[in-house]
């Protein structure tokens, strides 16, 4: 019983770590621009495909090769994120939120349908990029890939924290997210900060894409939809705009989902996230770690 519980705990944490990586991108973009970047889930998908195409170029099944693939996918995703921001969102900086939201949905659909044309609609199997080994500790079975996911996620989240709280760019990012106008008066170029935010968030999503593909070894152009939506739910659970909140929400959602998936209600697994979303928005819209704000006229 206990072993089973711990087993599910490990599975839940490694799924949650991926949600957390995606959720961070949502929460950061929401922090600076106050809108839901629907296309973020498809940046995650493109990250996984970038990994697929990079994998043959790197030595298979080695730590170094894995690092190269993840790094390359992060770079590709960051470039894509910056391009999306420049082409689709920047022209709408002064437009009503609804227009930006619709554009984001459009970009998301575009990436999915273009992905189906370019990558093919059929699921593709993802190659082995990290050394794959089945580990067993005290009756617990897990794969080395799950460990890789957790380690990577932890490093990336700590790295993000260092960037946000200990660099000039990070300070600018926090300033813009607190008050864009005041930040501009302090000499911060908001466009640069927003571009940086998109690059950072998309890179995390790209890493998430590869790590997801490593654990769930087929990828397809629509693979981002559900994890993306769930990661957004995770961001709200943790408190949108809060970086530790996104990480916490991701882990929490991964755990809840894995435990439900292991129970007799497993077919309802995909509805859990949305039920949680609605409950949270109704009763605690600020999320676990967020601060409630009063809207002023």
């Amino acid at each position: 019983m206990l072993t089973e519980f711990l087993q599910q705990l490990v599975n839940g944490l490694s799924l949650g770590a991926i949600y957390a990586l995606i959720a961070l991108g949502y929460t950061m973009v929401y922090g600076v621009l106050r809108f839901i970047n629907f296309a973020h889930s498809d940046v995650f998908m493109v990250g996984a495909f970038a990994g697929l195409y990079l994998a043959p170029l790197a030595p298979a099944g080695s730590i170094l090769g894995g690092l190269v693939v993840v790094g390359g996918a992060m770079l590709a995703s960051a470039l894509l994120g910056v391009a999306i921001e420049r082409l689709a969102y920047r022209p709408l900086r002064q437009a009503p939120t609804l227009n930006v939201l619709i554009t984001a949905i459009g970009v998301s659909c575009l990436l999915q349908s273009a992905g189906q044309l370019v990558f093919g609609a059929a699921p593709r199997s993802f190659p082995v990029i990290f050394p794959a080994r089945a580990l067993s500790v005290g009756g617990l079975d897990f794969s080395s890939n799950q460990v890789v996911v957790l380690v990577f996620a932890a490093i990336l989240v700590i790295g993000l924290r260092l960037i946000v709280f200990h660099t000039r760019m990070g300070a600018a990012l926090r300033a813009v997210s607190q008050n864009p106008r005041a930040a501009r008066l302090m000499g911060i170029d908001n466009d640069v900060v927003i571009r940086f935010t998109f690059a950072l968030g998309s890179a995390l999503a790209g890493a998430g894409g590869v790590l997801y593909a490593v654990n769930y070894p087929t990828i397809d152009p629509l693979m981002g939809v559900l994890p993306g939506l769930k990661a957004f739910v995770a961001a709200i659970l943790g408190g949108i705009g809060s970086i530790p909140g996104a990480a916490l929400g991701g882990l929490l959602l991964g755990l809840v989902e894995t435990f439900v998936g292991g129970s007799q209600y497993s077919t309802y697994k995909d509805a859990i996230a949305f039920a949680l979303l609605i409950l949270f928005l109704l009763f605690r819209p600020a999320g676990l770690l967020g601060k409630a704000r009063i809207e002023k006229v």
Binding site: I36, A88, L101, I102, C109, A271, F274, I278, L282
Partner: protein, 319 residues
């Protein structure tokens, strides 16, 4: 205030037109008939979403969810109750059958309206993109629930739905939707929808109850989406939960955006256009979604008020 009788007259004319078309349906090419029915169903969907998203300004991404509820409820009535009520011997296309279908559609619409009421309640506290997410989540929950509900076919869907949908029913539903939504938003009461959309805080300061308007918009919009679902099910004769997913909702949203939020005539034109377009684009069918999404992005960048809107009410853009 436009004279009401004109609207009534238009509604009656549409009913007559539907009857005439239905009477002639043997002489119309079946392919054209199918396209016509598809156009009608999409008009019902787009105009009803327009009440929620366009006139009242509550962005909803779950319209396919309401449609699913209507489709399943209507089909459940005609499949499981129909044989007991009218027997197996009822003449095809006869009065008994059409009465059954009419009441089944009504039940489907009411079931969806109930769901609309439930979704409308969170909208009292949420706005903008949060609300969009709740409606999206709601649509997904409906889909998962239907996939797990074996009596209605589960993930495989419901087959063997009788082909009751005729041109008459589609035209009648389309006319009823346009008529109801049109009369609603032009009435004194209905100006409240526009007020809530334009500025919720100012509307409540002026003594209107935004919450009530939002709930009414969701309920009425969902009712007609449910009817469209019923028509759809009895037209295709088979429905699956995955047929009412997020991308179906998006399709309806694109129609409303293309036509212009709050512009009923524009939305009808857009529904016609977007239903006919894939028929003409069959040779390049795989590019259809790419085109749709480019259209959506391009519209938002260049013409956010929609293709067919030439005047905008809002004088001052919101900051």
């Amino acid at each position: 205030m436009p004279p009401m009788p004109k609207a009534h007259l238009g509604f009656l004319l549409a009913l007559v037109l539907g009857g005439v078309l239905s009477g002639l349906s043997d002489r119309i090419d079946p392919y054209h008939l199918d396209v016509l029915i598809g156009v009608g169903i999409n008009i019902v969907l787009a105009v009803s979403l327009n009440l929620i998203a366009g006139h009242t300004g509550q962005f909803s991404l779950g319209h396919a969810g309401f449609m699913a509820i209507g489709a399943y409820a209507t089909a459940a009535v005609t499949i499981f109750l129909g044989p007991h009520l009218i027997g197996d011997t009822a003449a095809p296309g006869g009065l008994a059958e059409n009465t059954l279908f009419g009441s089944a559609l009504l039940i489907g619409g009411l079931a969806a309206a109930l769901a609309g009421l439930l979704v409308g309640i969170p909208s009292l506290r949420l706005r903008g993109d949060y609300l969009a997410l709740v409606t999206l989540g709601f649509g997904e929950i409906i889909r998962v629930l239907l996939q797990n509900f074996e009596p209605l076919g589960g993930a495989l869907g419901l087959n063997g739905i009788p082909a009751y949908t005729t041109v008459f029913w589609v035209v009648a539903a389309g006319a009823a939707t346009v008529f109801t939504v049109g009369c609603l938003v032009r009435s004194n009461y209905g100006l409240g929808f526009l007020a809530v959309r334009d500025d919720e805080i100012a509307a409540s300061a002026a003594g209107l109850d935004p919450a009530r308007y939002k709930v009414v918009a969701f309920t009425v919009g969902a009712f007609f989406a449910g009817i469209a679902g019923g028509l759809f099910g009895h037209f295709k004769m088979t429905i699956t939960p995955s047929g009412f997913d997020f991308s179906r909702s998006i399709e309806i949203v694109v129609m409303v955006i293309l036509g212009g939020l709050g512009n009923t005539v524009g939305v009808i034109l857009a529904a016609v256009l977007l239903t006919l377009l894939p028929e003409f684009l069959r040779p390049v069918a795989e590019y259809r979604l790419v085109l749709y999404s480019l259209l959506l992005i391009g519209l938002m960048l260049a013409r956010p008020q929609g293709l067919f809107t030439f005047r905008t009410h809002r004088a001052v853009p919101r900051a």
